[in-house]
Symmetry: C2
Subunit: 115 residues, 2 copies
DNA sequence: CAATATACTTTGTGTTACATAGTATATTGT
DNA sequence: ACAATATACTATGTAACACAAAGTATATTG
């Protein structure tokens, strides 16, 4: 039941978190999933969440993709890299999120003037 | 475009914010809408958002409702009051939200060990 | 008495996270 | 050598939620 709320909380911000993870270097899908699952107990994702999200980011030209044909050994991987437009959106939407979460936090903290 | 993200950010937390607003006293629908629109530039809602949300909260027994038949003058109003179960959920989910937003904030702030 | 404001209702839409299942290649244990 | 497991990506379908838009009905105001 708590999980149902968490599922909703992630909406929208997951995209931005993924862009953030790609900010420093390109990564492939499975790498991102592992990173999220290690880094955070709230942002865990499954393939069915991440890959469609990546396709959306690609459609919006926020990331570029390239296939890396098994360089020496291993399965071929699809690498995702953030674009300049992606960096711009990352910056803007991050700022919006900080403002948003601060405001929600203020309300939930209880400075509710009961007029 | 920015608004599209904001719309997603609200998911889940709007319910909790409404519970919070009802924490101190019962209120009717339009009152809640006005309160949200004044109090916050991020949490603005329309009727089509709030009323279905209130019905959900009622279904889940997190709020009670009562009709106030126009006491002296004015349109009859439907008052919403938080239940004990509602207070419990408010407390629990608030805590989850603070933890969640702190974690997202930490990631977006850029302490990304690029391993 | 028409126009506007208040208050609530109803229907339908788009986005998103996720479950589930599937394909295919690599690696590992015995 | 070969089944089992891990890696990596794809594809289909579902549920929840915020919202647009339109509607109903009563009060107030010019």
């Amino acid at each position: 039941m708590q999980d149902a709320y968490l599922k909703q909380f992630k909406k929208g911000i997951l995209e931005i978190v993924v862009l953030k993870l790609l900010e420093s270097r390109e990564q492939y899908g499975y790498e991102l999933i592992s990173a999220l699952n290690e880094k955070s107990r709230f942002l865990e994702v499954r393939e069915g969440t991440l890959y469609p999200l990546l396709y959306r980011l690609e459609d919006e030209k926020l990331i570029d993709t390239r296939w890396q044909q098994a360089p020496a050994r291993g399965v071929p991987k699809k690498y995702y890299a953030i674009t300049p437009k992606g960096r711009q959106v990352l910056g803007e939407v991050s700022k919006t999120w900080f403002a948003f979460s601060a405001e929600v936090g203020a309300i939930l903290k209880g400075d509710d003037d009961q007029s």
